[in-house]
Amino acid sequence: MENKLTVSSSPHIHTPEDIPWIMRQVIYALIPGALIGVYFFGIPAIKVILLSVFMCLGVEALTQKLIGKPITIRDGSAAVTGLLLAMNMPSGSAWWLVMLGACIAIILGKQVYGGLGNNPFNPALVARVFLLIAFPVQMTTWPQPRVFPLSLADTTTGATPLGSLKTAIFTYGKIGDSGNIALMDPFLGNIGGSLGEISALALIVGGIYLIMKKIISWHIPVVYVATVFVLTCLFWIINPGMYASPFLHITCGGLMLGAFFMATDMVTSPITNRGKIIFAAGCGIITVVIRLWGGYPEGVSFAILIMNGLVPLINRYTQPIKFGGVK
């Protein structure tokens, strides 16, 4: 009898909210955004999502087997990376592009650092930015949204609202009519763009679910979106001919996907709430700088990756103030 007793340090009970549980909640929260993508982009979107998720799982298992580490695909983190990567790519991406992205995300973004918890940069964003720089044409060929039965047929391609703004600025030196779009379209998702970024509403719904489940805190999404809104609003008031409305900036592009799902990645964001506010404000500023004056129409991915690099530094200066310590 006595030999069967387990002895360990306290506490002896543990929350059921482990890593697989957290990853499941993130996947649930991403489902509305992914479904809107499927609704407007049809079968190709389903193909991209499935390919990306299964490729990430496969690559993770294979890498871990090759380097002789325990295979941890059951923790769900590779599936989340796969889903996020798919949602960050054009819905019409070729199979090889998706597979290459999955390999980059898992191997270069995650496993070379030692796997989950040790990666300094968001794996899905590492892959997306790699593809964007290496295959700029393929990564900016945006199929246009069509209502579901139609979306089964071949689609036409076109520009995103942010892309049109940039083209107008480069061509005419002003935004002209390109800033006049019906904002309900990007809010609901009837717009060109990456597979999972088109509907601000669906992403906000998923994000609120994560906040309610206490998996993310409100700090990063709220501060990130607010920073973008305030800065773009400022420039729009100064010169509406050069700069688009803040409402366009917060509904279009990857901001909602980035603010709720990419910047909030636990591993690559600061650990304290004060740190998260600084991090999110930095993301917002860099995003606005790239969108308004940079060469790329969209800056969310770059902004988050740059701020990921600063996380250790932010953590260092935002340690919690201990109970009973000097305030």
Partner: protein, 439 residues
Amino acid sequence: MKKTFKGGVHLLEENFLVSSKTIVDMPLCPIYVLPVHQHVGTPCKPIVRQGDVVKKGQQIAEPAGYVSVAIHAPTSGKIKEIGPKIHPLTGRKSLSVVIESDGKDEWVDGLPLNRDPFSIGREKLVTMIQSSGIVGLGGATFPTHVKLSPSKEKKIDTLIINGVECDSHVADDHRLMVEHPEAVISGAKVIMSILGLNRSIIAIGKNKPDAIAIIREKVPPEIQLEPLEVKYPQGAERQLIKTLTGRDTPSGGLPMDIGCLVHNAGTCAAIWNAAAYGIPLIERITSVTGHGIVEPKNIRVKIGTLLKDVIEFCGGIKNPAKILFGGPMMGIAQYSLDVPVIKGTSGIVVLTQDEVSKSSYTACIACGRCVDFCPMQLNPSMLSRLGEKSMWEKALNFNLLDCIECGVCSYICPSNRPIKHFIRHLKTLEREAKSLYGK
């Protein structure tokens, strides 16, 4: 505004297993084992020899120094042995007095008394508390007389009676307050008279509505009843003071630095028994519970009773994985059934195989949950990473010594990291280094 503190966690409540069970007396056992080190401070010194005959309530070991208390025979019988026995807190063998019961359970001459404790006088009461072997019965076992003798410059203005009992399983204080509210209240009055206070606060967790109702009915106007939200670790001293008074106990300081004093409800009852009846601390109330025990019970058990006797009295164990002295958040896992119940044993919890996680831990994913939930506002994530590498000097910069070891961080960690274990490892390294090289 809800009265609470920053951080903490809601545990799955399992107190219902015993919270409505009446306290029963544990029958006499053949053998009692009394380690001489049952309190924080210097171990006491045996004053009996092998073969001596002792009576119930007779002192068998005397305090060795100021931060030390006496130990008494829990029943009448013969001293069978004085030697090393397994200690339930350290797991190591430690000097213990073994008493063989004669089955008569006879009191030592003159006990129990019947006297008015308020006519005894402060100094005598404090000395009496030390010689009665009274320590904090919530589990910390700090000698009570030390807390009752604050230095002159530290004026105590708030006495808090702690009936919060925030761990998820045990209900010994709960039952005590329901069944013997007058002992708790009278004990509180004795403490008030020692400290010269005219008011105090009694805090009870809202998950004990019956205890709240009874105490509300019995409590005199000078004692204020405060029902508190159910959150772990609400019963921890610093968090309790913060909740009730808004005062922050300074880092490295004691509650008496901010004029507060916290005593457990069980300690109050023990003080009353000693002050009014002269009965030393020879028994306590313990919750024997958990899904792994056949008949969960609240028992009045003599200090020194062996774990195997307690288990037998409670119908045995089923599918056990861990037997804990104390609740699941702070309790000590036992490897032997030959360990005795000691003064600080507030509960004996048997967890089943399904309740105990044996999976290993993975890398920290920096989710920040431990930081959000830490009631001391530390950075357990960083401490656990430093703990893995034994970097205790660096850990001091991350407030290692402020950790109260409540275990919330390990409980909440999605990577299942034994954060509290790492922190204790660092603290041990720090202590060893300090004792080797001085400060």
